[in-house]
Symmetry: none
Subunit: 216 residues, 4 copies
DNA sequence: AATGAATGAGGGTTCATTCAT
DNA sequence: AATGAATGAACCCTCATTCAT
C-alpha cells in the first residue's frame, strides 16, 4: 500500500543527513570545528546554507551527530570478528589488528579520533560518548584476547592493561597523524606504509609477550 | 652605559612576550586557536588587548611564536643527556626516556604536541618547523641509542625506525591525552600514573628487543 | 449547472481565506506583524506554508486583507441601530454605546485597533483605509446623535467634536488594553469589568452634557 | 586630584548610552522592535554596529533599558507639582493636567506608551515595570486630587477610579495617536491642537464632577 | 609603553518565498 | 489544490585589529 516507489525528492531527503555528516566530518577534521563555516559544510554536501538547518538545529548539534554517526559500524564489525576468532592468540591478534586498523585508516572513521581530541575540551559530552562507545569496548576486547594468551600459557604474565595500551596507542597515533601532519605531506620518511607498520609493531609487542618456555 | 640595573618597568617589558606566549599556549591548547579570542590571551597574561598587538603583529604570528618558543629548551636538554650516557643500552634508554618524558609531561611543552596536531592543517609552516626541530632530532637521537644496542649485541637486529616509533608514539599519545580527554577528567582507569606507565612501556618494548644470546 | 451542493472540499476551499485571516489577525496582534512567521499563521489555520501563498501573494498583502476583512460588519451593524433610534438622546447614547462597544470588545474586531496602531507607520495604506472606513463614519454617527441632543435642548451647547472624542477615546483604549497589557494579565485593579466601565463612563460624560434648564 | 578635565573620548563614552537609547526609542516606536535593525539604531546614534554592543549586551536588553530610561524624569516632576498644589481642586486639576500632558506630548516620553503597548506581549517584564513605575503612581496621584475635591465638597461623590480613567485614558490615546496615525499625517480634522484639546476635555469631565450645591 | 573605545568584516541562524511533487 | 523541501537574502552578534589618548 504505502510502498510507492520513493520519488527523487524523497530519496534526496533520506540521504541528506548522511551527506551532511560526511561533509561535516571532513571539514571539521581538516580545519577544526570553530574554523569551519556552516556554509562550507552545506556547500560540500551540495546544498545551501539553509538546508543544513533543516536537518540539524545548530552547528554544535551537527558536531555531536558527526561523532555519534561515525565509528559505530566499524567498532561493531571489529568486535564480532575478534569474538569468533580461533587459533594461537599471537597470530590472531596480529591478523585481526592488522586487518581492522588498516580498514579504519582507510575509512573516514580514522578522522574521528582527531575530532574527539581537538573538540573534547570545548564539548565534554563528546568525551563521555567516546569513552563509553569506543575506548571501553575496544579496550575490553583486546584485553580479553591478551588475557586468553596468558591463560593458555602462550604469553608471559604481563600487565594486561599496559599491553593493550602498547598495542593501541601507536595505532591511534597513526590515525591522528594521518589527519594532521600526514595530510600536510609531512610523512615521516622512517614510517613504512600503514599495513606494514602495523604488522611490524604487532610483531615487536608480541615478541615481548611471548613466553620463552611455552607450556613446558 | 646600558648596564644600569633594569628598572621594574624594564623587567616587565622583557618578560611580557614570554608571559603572552605562555598564556597563548595554554588557551590555544584548551580551546583551539580559532576559538580563542585575542583578548582572552591578553587578559590571562595580565595586559590589555592593545598590548598584545605591541608584541605580535597578529593572532597568527602569535601562534607561530608559541610553537617556536616552547619545546626548544626541553629538546636540547634531552639531547645532551642522551649523548653523554654510558652503560648497558637498555638501562640507559629506560632511565633517560622515563626521566625526559616525565619532565615533558609535567611541563607546558607537553601541550605543544596537541597544538601542532590541531593547527598544522591550517598553518602548514608549523609542520615544517615541528618536523625539523622536534621530530627529526628526536628520532635520530633515540635511533642512535637503539643502533648502539644492536651494535653492541645487546639487542636483536630489529628495524630501528620501527622500534623508535614503538617507543615514542605512546609517549606522544600520553601528551595528547593529557591535554584533551585527560583535561576533561576522562582518565582511562586502566592507565597507571605517567612515570609508572612509561617505565612499564619501556620494559615491554625492551623485552621485545633483548637478545636471547647476548654476545654468545 | 454549478448549483450542485458544494462538496466538503469546496466548502473547505471557500472557508480557507477566512480561516487564514482569523489566524493572521490573532497572531499579528499577539506578536506584531514583523515577529509573526508566515508558517505560524498557516499552522494556526491548519494548513501548510505553501497553501497560505495560494491565497495571498505575500505576507504584506495578508496584513492588508486582515484589516479590510474585519470591523466592516460591526461598523455597519452599529450604524444601522444608531440611525433608527428614538427617544431621549442621553438614554439612546448610553444604551447604544454600551451595547456596541461591549460587542466589539468581545469580538476579534477589538484587535484591529491595536493592529492599526502598531502597523500604520510601516504600511500607511492601512491608515487611509482605517480613517475612511472606521474613524470618519463612526465620528459622524456619534456626532449626529450629540448634535440631536443639543438641537432638542437636552444637552448644553458644547463642542460636538470634543464630546465625541471624550466618548470614544476611552473605549478605544479599552480595546488596545485588552490586547496588550490586559492580555498579559496586567489588569488594572481599579478597572471595573467592561460593560460596567462603559456605562459609568457614559454616565459621567453625559452628566457633563445635560442641560440644567431643559427646554425652559 | 582626580578632577582632570574629561577628554573628548571620555565625554563621548558617557554620552553614548543616552544617545543610543534615544535613537532606539525613536526607531522602536517608528518601526516596531522586531522590524528595527540593530545597525539602524547604531547609525542613528552616529556609531557603528559594534559600538552598540559595547553598551548593551543584546537588542532585547536595549529595549528594556529604553523603557526604564525614559518617563522616569517626567513622572517624578509631575508628582512633585501635583503634591504641592493649593487652591480650588477643579482649577488645580485643569491647570496641572494641561501643563503636564502638554509637556509629555512634546517630549520623547510620549512614545513610551506606544512602545509598551506594542511590545508587552513579547516581553512581559516590560509590563510589570510599566505598571509599577507609571500606571500606579500616576493613578494614585490623580485619584488623591479627585478625592480631595470630593472631601472638600467641591465634587459630587462619584467613583474616583472611574473619573481617573476618564481623565487619563484620552490623554494616553493622544500619545498613542501621535506616534501612530498622527505620525503618518492622518490628523483627525476634528481634533484641536493638543493643549486646547486637553483643556476642553478636562472642562468636560470636571463639569460632570462639579457639585451643583457647593457647600450649601 | 599601555589602554580600551571604536570599527566593520564575517559567520550563525532565521524566514519569506518558490516550486517540484 | 496542497505540500514541504529548498533557497538565499537579511539580520543578530562576535571579534581581530586599529588608533586616539
Amino acid at each position: 500500500m504505502s510502498s510507492a516507489p520513493p520519488t527523487s525528492r524523497q530519496r534526496r531527503k533520506e540521504a541528506r543527513p548522511s551527506e551532511l555528516l560526511d561533509a561535516a566530518l571532513a571539514l571539521f577534521v581538516e580545519k577544526g570545528f570553530a574554523a569551519t563555516r556552516a556554509e562550507e559544510v552545506a556547500a560540500r554536501a551540495g546544498v545551501s546554507k539553509g538546508t543544513l538547518y533543516l536537518y540539524f538545529p545548530s552547528k554544535e548539534e551537527l558536531l555531536k551527530a558527526v561523532i555519534g554517526h561515525t565509528l559505530m559500524a566499524d567498532i561493531a564489525r571489529g568486535a564480532e570478528k575478534l569474538a569468533q576468532a580461533e587459533g594461537p592468540t599471537a597470530d590472531l591478534l596480529v591478523e585481526l589488528m592488522t586487518e581492522w586498523w588498516s580498514a579504519v585508516l582507510d575509512s573516514p572513521s580514522s578522522a574521528v579520533f582527531k575530532l574527539v581530541m581537538t573538540e573534547v575540551r570545548n564539548f565534554p559530552e563528546i568525551g563521555q560518548y567516546y569513552v563509553r562507545e569506543v575506548v571501553e569496548p575496544g579496550h575490553r576486547l583486546i584485553g580479553t584476547m591478551v588475557q586468553r594468551g596468558i591463560d593458555r600459557g602462550e604469553f608471559r604474565a604481563v600487565d594486561v592493561d599496559c599491553v593493550v595500551h602498547a598495542i593501541v596507542l601507536p595505532m591511534v597515533m597513526l590515525c591522528l597523524h594521518k589527519h594532521s601532519m600526514g595530510a600536510c605531506g609531512f610523512t615521516d620518511p622512517h614510517l613504512p606504509p600503514p599495513p606494514q607498520f602495523i604488522r611490524q609493531h604487532m610483531d615487536l609487542v608480541l615478541h615481548g609477550l611471548r613466553n620463552p618456555t611455552p607450556a613446558a
